[in-house]
Amino acid sequence: MSLATLSWIGLVIYIAAMIVLGVMGMRRTRSMADYAVAARFGPLFVALCFTGTFTSAATFMGYPGLVYKFGWPGMWAGAGFATGAVAAMILTARKLTSTATRIGSLSVPDFVGDRYKSDLLRVIVAVLVPIIYIAVLTAQYKGVGTLFEVVLGVDYRVGVLLCAVVVTLYIALGGTIADVYTDVVQTSIMTIVVLFVAIYGFIYLGGFAGIDAAVAKESPNLTSAATGWWAAPLFTPLGVFALWLMHVFHVGSQPYMVKTFWAVRTPKLIGQVMLYSAIILFLHNFVGLTGIYARAIVGPGLKNVDAAFPALIAAIFPPVVGALVLIAILSAAMSTVDGLLVTVSTCAANDVYRKAIVARKREPTAEDERRALTVGRIACLVFGLAPAYWAATKPPEFLLVLLWFGLAGVGSMLAGPVIVGLYMKRATPIGALVSMIVGLALYAVLFIPYKLGPNISGAAGAVAGALTMIVVSLATRQTLSEELINRLFPPAPKERHA
């Protein structure tokens, strides 16, 4: 059977499974807390959800593309971003999960609002984050469209619409519960496919000796350690460190990523979640090897470097593996899109409607809860389908730039209020507001007029935001109540039991 036939058979089974999981999620979703957080899962499921959400179409297509283009130095891209995520977990996963659970926040914007007792901050974050995420969603859809075009030879819009409609449907139905169920399946497929292809390709090419002999014929740069010391764009010691640092801040506070940890049954299990997540991220990072394999086998001729992984598959694997890789890359995109959609719909339903509109007037009733869920489902349809329309009709040319701009921009904005706010008792609401403005503004200035790249601009924006938070908080009066501060920073358990 041909690759196209096998792929479509696989896709029909896969999509049917996702819809069934969406319906299962809907049956278990009874409140806004179920929809937004669903704190009921064991550590392995949560780790599969976090890693699937982190690993996107950009990881499965863009990262091998960089390794294909730059050779071995490109592997530092993966080491930079994924180990940055491991460090980010150490920085915030446990502390943010336990603090947010303790004060009852259902999302990161909600946490900012509750942490600083400010509906203004809650609404600013809950409005800005979805706007920025439209770019991130569009980039994921574009990746799937390109994938379908390259592998199956169908119209680019088929992939865009398929991804958008399926994910929007299962998230509108089942919220976070559907997100976790589907991510467990999607991340398992991704991990198995990456390991299989990485090991098979390594043996096929005759190990390092075979790979290096094949690529060194073209250029010795492909087997060097870095693309330069300080000057070249990304794979220099400075560039990789900035990429790492940018990820520490942006993953550590990124609303759609950190919220996945909150689905754990009890924050006591977060340590296990972190360990499993680090192992899975490490395994996913081997996908970069497919870029160097592709360079060794296909040569430098690929027009679209993002298609390096699919091109490798077409060159050395039978169609059935090709179909599995297609589904694995689709899974990588979908498991990111679903996390984004839960987050933006929670911004509308909980952070703005339930908390900033209803709760100001009265304690939310059962009727309000139902209405909030409806608002969330409608927001999910709008935010799921509008970027698909954008991606399908006017595919933006510089989407990778927009994607990085979005994620690092959110990280620069939230490094102060979320990350510093977790550790600094003295942090004040004014400090949070000023640090958001300074972090985002510095990032935008370095990124747009100075064109310093997302890694250096993002790292600088986040560090500036964090420092601003500290300085302004020390310089302003603490307006938060003693009671709230004690809930945010309870005495250590040992002291309490003494």
């Binding site: 180990t83 491991v86 350690a225 006591k268 680090a278």
Partner: protein, 34 residues
């Protein structure tokens, strides 16, 4: 012969696993409810 880039890449990863192991063994699990 100099070390292959891939091994440097593995060492960089290993450092993060060491950091994670130290963090997980040295810090206490926080309780959710005060």
């Amino acid at each position: 012969m100099r070390m292959h880039v891939f091994y440097a890449w593995l060492i960089w990863w290993a450092l993060h696993f060491v950091a994670l192991a130290i963090y997980l063994t040295q810090t206490r699990e926080e309780e959710a409810v005060p």
